[in-house]
Symmetry: C2
Amino acid sequence: MKHSYADYIPALKAMSDETRLRIIDMLSCGEMCACEILEEFSISQSTLSYHMKILSESGLVNAVRDGAWMRYTLNKEKTDELKTFFACITSDKEDCACKTYKNKRSSSKCC
Amino acid sequence: MKHSYADYIPALKAMSDETRLRIIDMLSCGEMCACEILEEFSISQSTLSYHMKILSESGLVNAVRDGAWMRYTLNKEKTDELKTFFACITSDKEDCACKTYKNKRSSSKCC
DNA sequence: AAATCACATTGACAACTATCGATATGTTCG
DNA sequence: CGAACATATCGATAGTTGTCAATGTGATTT
């Protein structure tokens, strides 16, 4: 399975911020709306909106408008995809790019 | 198991860059030295050194000096830890902070 | 000891990020 | 319709990031 590293960068960037990580955790048990999330932080409403946009655009979080509210849920497909990707790049595998380096290495000494 | 979100930020930040993601993938099949890694990129030596420092300090990568060379390997303990953390914050769980929000919600309407 | 090789550090800089207050947009309710 | 509420966008700003060339440091070789 071919994956492009760049495809995962937005989700990984989205996860590399403590506020957003906490939001992901909050959403792991179910749906929450923006104002509920906001209550748990001491950040401004505009800042939360900024973070929610990053989370939505990364695909990690589904955003659905419900009247005046926004309802957020975790996108399990995306988190599973990310899990798979992470498992893939951190484990030895047959079709891995690094096999090329290994072959190179076996035929010539390091550096 | 209590986890502090902040503990995982350095590793997640380290992973949210395409160059570093490729390096992690390269190391997933085994050890490589800096000059070998450098060959696969069109970046300067100082830039690679900068990235390797971020990867080492995040704990994702072990750096060992071997004479004039630096030998890098993936830290499987750390990647496993990150896998566990990721699984944890993306799945429903008993001791989760979001249970609090749920309780709040069930006793009062949203917002 | 001097030259060379492998890697790290520094200083500079452009690009990006997180944050806020202010303001705009869209929704609901009286 | 107009007020109040929920969220988004804008402009400003301080801090962070990725990059390079130049230089420093430590190891190896001659």
